[in-house]
Symmetry: C2
Subunit: 244 residues, 2 copies
């Protein structure tokens, strides 16, 4: 970026916020493209006519927001990241954690989300994607055949299925919300998959749903989805009664 005055010195007052806004605007305004790097902390310090501490705070705030990635050493610095859908931001997760949102609410929301996603996925995704979904669910079922399946890995596969389905809507927001929600969900995971019956029925249900989606049968697919959430609600209710 050289010596052209992309940034102006901070005004007196909340210097850090001012600088943060300038840099953030530069990133969002694509003055600095993803993959490029901001000047080093010491350069920024000179450009903004400020202390390095301020710059560090700013850069770290950007890092926290997921806008940049920091590398050290020669050619290190703050590299602008493309905020992709993977970065599901922890704000929802934090909200779920601190407010002790009831798991029923999460389930309810996920059900409504899933129904829409299923419908859209059937309407929009191409044959290949749908077939891949079926294959993935069958792989999951095979995985479950093991006498001692790794529950953590199982959860991971399940999450991936959900995300894959969300991607099939062609609408990034569904994927974003799904990811955000799952990071919050796993944080209050009641280790649902420990229940063997639930686990088997759920996977079977997944396979069924995937088949309906591949067959372009929205109403049947929605029925499977509902069945899944019915199962989930029952289990959650049991767990609750068991622990309280």
């Amino acid at each position: 970026m050289g010596n052209n005055q992309l940034f102006t010195p901070a005004q007196t007052g909340r210097a850090s916020e001012d600088i943060a806004l300038q840099i953030e605007a530069a990133i969002l305004g694509e003055k600095i493209l993803p993959g490029e790097r901001l000047p080093s902390e010491r350069e920024l310090q000179a450009q903004f006519q400020t202390g390095r501490g301020v710059i560090r705070e700013v850069v770290h705030a950007l890092k926290q927001k997921g806008l940049v990635e920091i590398r050290k050493g020669g050619k290190g610095g703050a590299y602008v990241k493309k905020v992709d859908v993977v970065n599901a931001g922890e704000s929802l997760s934090l909200f779920l954690k601190q407010n002790r949102v009831d798991i029923d609410q999460i389930v309810e929301f996920r059900e409504s989300l899933d129904r829409t996603i299923t419908t859209l996925a059937i309407a929009r995704a191409d044959r290949d994607k749908k077939q891949q979904l079926v294959t993935a669910t069958e792989k999951l079922r095979d995985f479950l055949e093991q006498p001692e399946p790794d529950l953590e890995q199982l959860g991971e596969l399940d999450r991936n299925l959900n995300i894959r389905l969300a991607q099939m809507t062609g609408n990034q927001i569904f994927e974003w919300v799904m990811r955000a929600l799952q990071s919050g969900f796993s944080s209050k995971d009641y280790t649902l998959y420990e229940d063997r019956e639930f686990r088997e029925k759920t996977i079977e249900n997944w396979c069924e749903t995937a088949r309906h989606i591949a067959a372009n049968e929205p109403s049947k697919a929605l029925l499977s989805t509902s069945a899944h959430y019915l199962l989930l609600q029952q289990l959650v209710a049991r767990k609750k009664n068991g622990t309280t």
Copy 2:
């Protein structure tokens, strides 16, 4: 270099992140309750045996996450905030801004969200709340009678209506997502309300929807909602053709 460290992630981890996690855990674990304050930066510096810069970074990261609020002066410091649903986190907003998510996608998502919310609101909210919704929509219509309505204020009222409706579901997550989405939506606002016809039809539609909700008529309410989004999609399409 001892080879015994080959498999451990090594403690190259930054002290600041470590400290941040400790404090965050203390807050989320309710060791420190909302309203209480963390020790002062200098005290923390002493407790953690570290430099003040590190502490400042940590505290500001927490502030950025919305977990604390910083006051200065005597009795100042980092006060723990209750992360309420209002704090809709900017991660979604950032995502929408940087990825140039198409406005159609936002509209599509909002429509699906609104349909669920409407259904749930009818099922769950009590008479009073529903009546208040009707009153609020009528107030909005009256506001529109002015020859020169303040568009910004109008948008604000509209947002409040949406949030009020989301609250009526009794599920905080809907409210959270609605808020997050709106902060992102307004950032790519095509100044839709500038179109006088759209504005009037929309408000009229709002009144109608509210009445259907108050009358416990889910299917009619959903019809109004659909009509609203149809209108919105048309306008967006027109704007798009006009600008590209």
